[in-house]
Every structure is written in structure tokens, then in C-alpha cells.
């Protein structure tokens, strides 16, 4: 079929285009189209309603969350528990008044005769104490009291040192309690090595008498 024949055919068929649906079919199709349009509009109204409700619920919900969070924050500030002083001095770690008054410590350990195991002696009132006797007679200071004497920057530092001192001093105290003085001294030296910031005295006996010295000096 050439172009001319095609155009002729097209013209002929275009002239014949008088066919159409029956009127009843027309009416039916239009009615169904209107029904569908009404359904679509109803669905859109419903979606819009849900959207509005969801928005208002979301804003109310977020407001409620904000108010609750603010209330909890305020309440937490009002009911804050004051910092507890752990390991506070107990009666067992304090010295009686009479012993605190006149005690001096012999620090020149090197000058002691050999064989005495560097046992510093303490002159208190009318008697000398041997090293073992010092450990037996005088109680170890509390970790908190020790920490108070140190020059620490923050309370976090203080807390960390108190924690490491408390377990070591508990061990040492237990060893002294069963007469294991050398083990106690060795344990103390390990503590000193592990806690360079603690500024602890050279010997366990000096530590024992620390609480008798004025605060600020170890």
C-alpha cells in the first residue's frame, strides 16, 4: 500500500466514523464514573482527617514528653542526695587523745644498727615503740583521711585514690591483725609503687602515725 492508497483509505474510513455507543451504555458509564469520583473524594477527606488528627496527636504527644522530661530533670535536682563520705573515720581508726599529744618519729632509718631491719622507733611520752609495736598499737588512718591530706585537683581524683587505698589498707589491716607484719609492710610497699600520686610515706609505720600529724602534711 503506497501513501496515496493509505490516505485514500484513511479519508474513506474517517467519513464513515458515525458509529457510537448506545445512549443507555453512555449513561451507565457516566454514572459509574461519577460514583468512582465520589469514592475518591470521600477517601481523600478521610485521609486528610487522619492526617490532621495524627499531626495534632504528634504535637500533643511531643509536648507531653517535653513537660515530663523537664519535670523529671527538676525533680532530680531537688532530691539530689548529698555526696556521702565513704570510708569515714570510724572509732576503730581514731587514736585516743592521750596518744596523739606527744609522739615523735625517728626518720633516720639508715643510722640504725644493722640487723634491726630498719625498724624506726617512736618515742612517745615515757617509752619507745618498736616497729611491730607501732603497727599493733596504732590503727591505720582511713583512706578518706589520707586523701584529705593530699593535694588533689578534683573530687574525681580523690575518689579514685580513696578506692585504691581502701582495699589495700583493708588487706594490710587484716595482716597486722594476725601478726603478719612483714607481709603487711610488703603489701604497703606494693601500694606505694602502684599509687605514685598518693604521696604516701616511705614506711607503713609512718603511715600509721600520719593521722597524728597536722593535716596537710604526709
Amino acid at each position: 500500500m503506497n501513501k496515496s492508497q493509505f490516505n485514500r483509505l484513511k479519508k474513506a474510513l474517517d467519513q464513515g466514523k458515525s458509529n457510537n455507543n448506545a445512549a443507555s451504555v453512555d449513561a451507565q458509564i457516566r454514572q459509574l464514573a461519577q460514583q468512582k469520583a465520589a469514592e475518591i473524594r470521600a477517601e481523600q477527606r478521610q485521609k486528610a482527617w487522619f492526617r490532621r488528627k495524627a499531626m495534632s496527636f504528634a504535637s500533643a504527644f511531643s509536648l507531653a514528653i517535653t513537660i515530663t522530661a523537664a519535670s523529671l530533670l527538676i525533680m532530680s535536682h531537688l532530691t539530689a542526695v548529698p555526696e556521702l563520705e565513704l570510708f569515714a573515720d570510724t572509732p576503730s581508726t581514731t587514736l585516743s587523745n592521750e596518744r596523739q599529744s606527744t609522739i615523735t618519729i625517728a626518720r633516720s632509718i639508715d643510722s640504725l644498727p644493722p640487723g634491726m631491719l630498719a625498724t624506726p622507733v617512736v618515742r612517745a611520752q615515757s617509752r619507745f615503740y618498736s616497729a611491730d609495736e607501732i603497727l599493733q598499737e596504732f590503727s591505720l588512718p582511713s583512706p578518706t583521711a589520707l586523701a584529705r591530706r593530699m593535694n588533689l585537683d578534683t573530687s574525681a581524683d580523690r575518689w579514685a585514690i580513696v578506692s585504691s587505698l581502701s582495699s589495700a589498707l583493708a588487706d594490710i589491716s587484716a595482716m597486722i591483725g594476725v601478726g603478719e607484719f612483714e607481709q603487711a609492710r610488703q603489701r604497703y610497699q606494693r601500694l606505694r609503687q602502684s599509687c605514685a600520686n598518693c604521696q604516701l610515706p616511705n614506711s607503713l609505720e609512718e603511715l600509721t602515725l600520719v593521722s597524728l600529724a597536722p593535716e596537710g602534711n604526709i
Binding site: 500500500m1 503506497n2 492508497q5 493509505f6 485514500r8 483509505l9 484513511k10 474513506a12 474510513l13 474517517d14 467519513q15 464513515g16 466514523k17 458509529n19 457510537n20 455507543n21 448506545a22 451504555v25 453512555d26 451507565q28 458509564i29 457516566r30 459509574l32 464514573a33 461519577q34 468512582k36 469520583a37 465520589a38 475518591i40 473524594r41 481523600q44
Partner: protein
Amino acid sequence: MSDETLMRLYGRGEAKAFDVLYQRYKGRLYTFLYRLCGDHAIAEELAQDAWLAVIRQATNYQVTAKFNTWLFRIAHYRLVDYWRKFGSNATVIMEELSEQALRSRDRATEGLELQELVEMLRCLPPNQIETLLLKIEGFGREEIAEITRAKPETVKSRLRYASKQLRAAMEMRA
């Protein structure tokens, strides 16, 4: 307003947009179906099915193809289903052209040309007549391919084959 805009408006619930579209295409669609199935009642039924499909798909309509391509594609599917069940009957075109040829008695040449075209069309299978009619409706090769779900090369082949058959028929008559 374009067909696609009208269809989108209908998808949002504007019933009047559908009325405009329906008015634009109801005649063309019906005539196309009637020429390929040969029966008024069948053509009405097929056309009604096609329009109902358009109504049902209103909210899903995507502007990926032109509205008329989409509409005729729906009609094509209905037609193919009908041909499968009842066979094709494209004699309507022949009758239409023959009637016109007779009316063109006074213009002899014109009448003869139409008669020749009728004879040519008788040789063609239904899918080729459909392709031809879609071309007459103004669809391009790509659009015809989309409507008939064929490849553009297949559409080209059909049109070329139709021309070849028609030429052969003419030579035989001569």
C-alpha cells in the same frame, strides 16, 4: 486541557474531567472496536469494558504513556480476548468501504480505488488490519507497538507485509 491532565484530575475525584475525556474518545474507540469485531452489540460491550477499566484505574493512572495509547491498549486486550473466544471478523471495514465505493459511483475513479482497497484488505489477517486501523487513527509506530504489545520492528514488518500482500493481490487482479 490535555488528556493526561484530565485523567489526573479525575484521579483526584473530578467527575467532570472524565466527562470531557469520554466525549473526546467514545466515538473513536467504539468505531475502532466495531470495525474489528463486526457487531454493534459486541463493540458496545468491548467499549464499555474498556471504559470501566479506565474508571477503576483512575487513582493508579501514571503519566508514563499518553492517555489515548493507554485507552486503546485496554481496548486491544479486550479485542484479543474476544478474537480468542469467537474468532475475528474484520469484514465491517470491507462493507463500510464498499458502501462508500457505491456512493462514489459518480466519481468513478474514486469508487474504483475504494473497491480496490476493500479487496486488498480482505487478504490481510486481523492483527495487520488492526495495525492499519491504528495507523489510520493517527498512532505512530512506537505507539502501535505499545498498544499491541509488539516490538516496533514487528509493527514495521506488519505494515510492510500488509503492503506486500496488497500489491500481490492487485497484481493478481490485474
